[in-house]
Amino acid sequence: MIIRDLDTLNDIRQTRLNRLLRSRPRIGVGMGTCGVGNGAQTVYDALAEALVEKGLDADLEPVGCFGFCAVEPLVNVYLPGRPLVILAEVTPEDVPHIVDEIADGRVPTTKALCRIEEWDHLTGEVRFGRGLSEIPLWNEIPFFQGQQKIVLRNCGLINPERLDDYIAVGGYFPLYQALHKPGGDQIIEEINKANLRGRGGAGYPTGVKWNLMRKAKADTKYMICNADEGDPGAYMNRNEIESDPHMLLEGMLIGAYATESNKGIVYLRAEYPLAVQRLEKAVQDAREAGLLGERILGTSFSFDVELVEGAGAFVCGEETSMIASLEGRAGRPRPRPPFPAQSGLWGYPTNINNVETWCNVPVIVSRGGAWFAGVGTPNSTGTKVFSLVGKVKNTGLVEMPLGAPLKNIVYGIGGGSPAAKRIKAVQTGGPSGGCIPAKHFDTSVDYESLGALGAIMGSGGMVVMDEDNCMVDVARYFLEFTHSESCGKCIPCRVGLDEAVRILRKICDGEADMADVDKLEELAPMIRDASLCGLGQTAPNPVLTTLRYFREEYEEHIRARRCYAGVCEKLYLSPCENSCPLNMRIPAFLELLKEDRLEDAAEMVWLDNPLPASTGRICQHPCESQCRRGDEDAPVNMREVHRYIADTVFDGPLMERVRARLLEDRFEATGKRVAVIGAGPSGLSAAFYLAMLGHEVIVYEERDEPGGMLRYCLPEYRLPKDVLRAEIDVLESLGIRFEYGQTLGAGLSLDSLEQDCDTVFLATGTWNETRAGCTGEDAPDVWHAITFLEQVALGAPPSVGERVVVVGGGNAAVDSARTAVRLGAKSVTIVYRRERSDMPAIAEEVYDAEAEGVEVRFFLSPQRVVTDNDGHVKGIELRKTVPGEFDASGRRTPVSTDEILKLPCDLVIMAVGEKPDPDPLRRAGIHVRDNYTAKVDWMTYKTNRPRVHAGGDLVTGASNVSATMATGKAAARAIDRILMGEDRLDRVLKVFTYENRVPLEPEGGDRQVARHRAPDDRKNNFEEVMLGYGAEAAILESRRCLRCDVKEQCAVKGGTS
């Protein structure tokens, strides 16, 4: 039927609406490419079959995609008079239930994601029905919160293959309006008023472009839609065409009318077969209805659209290349001017806009430019569709008003990292875009703000990256992409990118030096400024932004030959080893243990980690989060195995032999003398390596015993003092001298040490408490965690009374709480101002504390400590908080409310953080940062004083045992290199030979559970809680290793490499 007037249009609309809304159930299955890929076709077929079987009179139709890719397939169910309900993750097994429910007149709710009561299609409204309030409204669920659907107004709700569905929701009415009321000038005026900017990436004002086009006089004028979407990770345009092809055609028709153009072309990727098919059908239907072709809607306006499938060259997204491609030539750009509006396809005036730009046009005509300009920011109006992919829980297509903060998209809609890892950056704009670091996630997403950060809006790809992504590798990946897509016409892009890719590959392979980074920094701006077209001009962006925000990662790759993200394979052997701050050769000691070579295993463990028994108890074990066995069942418990090795050595006759071996491994005396200040883990680790390298080492310690925080703050039940003592005895037997009662600035002066020694290593730690800043904090029964724990460690525990409240969420808070339980407190409560998942404490420790009766309460921040007239604590007033904006760490900032909670108690322990004491440093002339940590060159740990290095918590701020020991190890390496003129540390790390065989099937069975005391057996004493592995368990656990360190092996069963 040919549509010539408004009545016909209205008739079609009403007929279809009646059928859709009033008469019978309707089931829509989300069948975009994404849905089909997740099994929507089988769901659809199963539904079709079940409906026939049941004899149910219901409409079953494919619809487009509603955007929430992570939970596809999506099925929406509408029962007359009820809300439209969207079901998520539907499988064919769910189908009988769904059909049964519908047959019984009920809306199936088992897999319900959300409900829609009414929907504003912007060209018309649809009211479904009310009720079912137990299912959240669509915009109440986190993924859709803050989204505003303008472009995606119909996606996932209408059948993209039916013209009358589009008309039913008000489609083609804006075209009628445009053709019959305002002239072309007025339409352009509206577009200008809307301030619509090109959605392809550059953000050029559409109205300005159209105006040029309107003014160009020629008998043929081309309107082109750029649907050559090619950014890796971006699929907005595909989904827009697959879900709602008519909105694109309508936009082009209106644009053609406004600019007096008569020929339209959609340049669509051939790799999008479903989009091609649906658009072809839409063009066909529109032609048959007289919406394309001659005398459209009864006017004198004629316009037709041709579909051209692109052959897949990325550069054809550039308009002059696209024109060349359309003319049958190779897709290579040419310089502009002349611009396509002056001389484009076949020399005729040509206007090219992106799919999404066109899709906005009908809405602007329908609602007016002013309405559109009211969405977003003044300079970036309207919405933008983003494909949110990468390391977020909720992936999918997200349409946000421009100007929304990036963090709301990443943390709010995306739901943050799925693996509870730290999100590092977002890559926007694909290969032409840049990486925005997490510290800039406050940035509003609009053209100017993203540009200011060196990124671009681009077509809307948004790839979230976490700590497992290597930023050098990201730059290399994108550059390899643009390099292989470069057309080769201009030299900067052709040869410049080739050279840049070579440099990046060299860095990833650990073969580059810092001069290569300089070369990269020279090349990138030249490629950007001198290349002929947009491809080359934007190709360096990933390099420029990663160099700007993640330069330290480049330096790590080059200077330390490390890729901490564990991506650049040539720089590490296994992921566990790479993630270990001490770089322990984990698969090797597991293998040695497996081969029953305990002595070798022990020697290796000691060489890699001089405190293996202590770290085996208290390390935060980052290795486990990287362990590939974790993808199979559970990660290998590597920490417990090296604890077992160390404990066994201590318990038996092996100790003397291991000690003898270490003495044998020690280098000949160099005659150099190094002073270490502070006998904490960092100082001990530095002392060990310096001693092994043949230097004379004297450790100066303020307290009476060595061990630092391990000795004075870690409770006995976690780390028994005699274990630590035994480990330090080993160090002493290597010739390290300890002097106690030596305080820096009081008796011990850097000046005289510099005289006596060749180098000084400062590791005095973080012994000053951060104050919580609440009233009454100075009352006598208010303890700070470190002082409290230290007092207990000294054997003079304070009386805790009956009820204890601990403020904080870190390990010090949990340690204090569990210690208070052991000191006899009847009730112990930890209060934390954020939520459980935000707690920095080790999760197992929190679990154990709760098992011992500790109560953990969240969203409470200390307000005032209540004391009686004698100054004794009576209780604490806590202010309730609510989660607010996301902060730089991706956690929600606690926002105080007026609500106050009073907890009666006898003792308050504040565990809100520690910092170094800056005064002795300042007096010694060491530069100190704002957070009181010592300022060092992070590769050499050198301070501003030439022969003074510093490490440990003193430079990093409060961290954990393995990280702080790693700084000691790294500083020892640097000190030795400076003293001896070469890097010798790796030579200390003796190499063992052992079998290198990858198990073809996972071995060793389930993860071994370490022995431990039951809560009732442990909460009244300070006996060690975790008892570790026995011999059998340790060997079984070591057999679980998948041997990621073995790089090559023939694939014969039982074969060796």
């Binding site: 190779a330 201009c490 020279e522 030249m526 001198a530």
Partner: protein, 236 residues
């Protein structure tokens, strides 16, 4: 006669005609702008980027060979940035293929060599790629050595625009771009080549040469192509 336009190049106020390119105006006023893919008499492609100039009020650098002058245009052809970019471009080009002058027929008569001297390229900071391309010596009179090709496409344009034979074309893309004859056939088997030698005259380097010449012996007739095309324009 077209209208007269006033433009400024490097502070000199100059008269120009409409439709003239910046390069054209500069050359007729003895202002040097380096070029490589440009050849008088052929269409401009703006590909080598050596002739990039700064124009006041334009945020991007534009190629002088194809950018038309406009009234009041203020052009700078020399700046530290332009100098550095041109140097880098030339160094990249020299590293891309095997430009060994010591064994080259056009040594002493080579535009690439001249540019390197003019721009002060005394060393190349990028590692040489040393490709190993087969030399095509199948043609009776001419030799094609892809190892010396700079992909300026002057041969292709001369063949297409002046001779009309369309023997030459570019195969592949990016760093794998490569000049080919016909459908990647041997030049000697080309059904389209007329053996006119215009491509050889157009080539700025030793990639296309007349057979039988020893090192440094190959000389080209200057301006033969521009004379041909201007005579043709007059004949129209």
């Amino acid at each position: 006669m077209s209208n007269e336009i006033n433009i400024t190049i490097n502070g000199r106020e100059l008269k120009a005609r409409e439709q003239q390119t910046i390069l054209g105006v500069a050359r007729s006023n003895d202002i040097y702008i380096p070029t490589l893919c440009f050849l008088k008499g052929l269409s401009g492609v703006g590909a080598c980027r050596l002739c990039l100039v700064e124009i006041e009020g334009v945020p991007r650098l534009l190629p002088a060979c194809v950018t038309k002058v406009t009234e009041g245009m203020v052009v700078t052809t020399e700046s530290p940035k332009l100098k550095e970019y041109r140097r880098m471009i030339l160094e990249l080009l020299l590293a891309e293929r095997n430009h060994v002058c010591a064994f080259c027929v056009v040594s002493g008569n080579c535009e690439l060599q001249d540019l390197a001297q003019q721009l002060g390229v005394t060393y190349v900071r990028y590692p040489y790629r040393f490709p190993k391309y087969k030399v095509d010596a199948t043609h009776d009179r001419f030799l094609y050595d892809p190892n010396r090709c700079v992909l300026c496409t002057r041969c292709m344009r001369a063949c297409e625009e002046v001779e009309g034979a369309r023997t030459w074309n570019v195969r592949g893309r990016g760093i794998r771009s490569f000049m080919i004859t016909d459908l990647n056939q041997d030049w000697g088997d080309s059904p389209t080549c007329t053996t006119c030698g215009k491509c050889v005259e157009a080539c700025p380097t030793g990639a296309l040469a007349v057979k039988g010449r020893a090192t440094g012996e190959m000389k080209r007739k200057k301006n033969v192509l521009s004379q041909l095309s201007s005579m043709r324009d007059r004949g129209r």
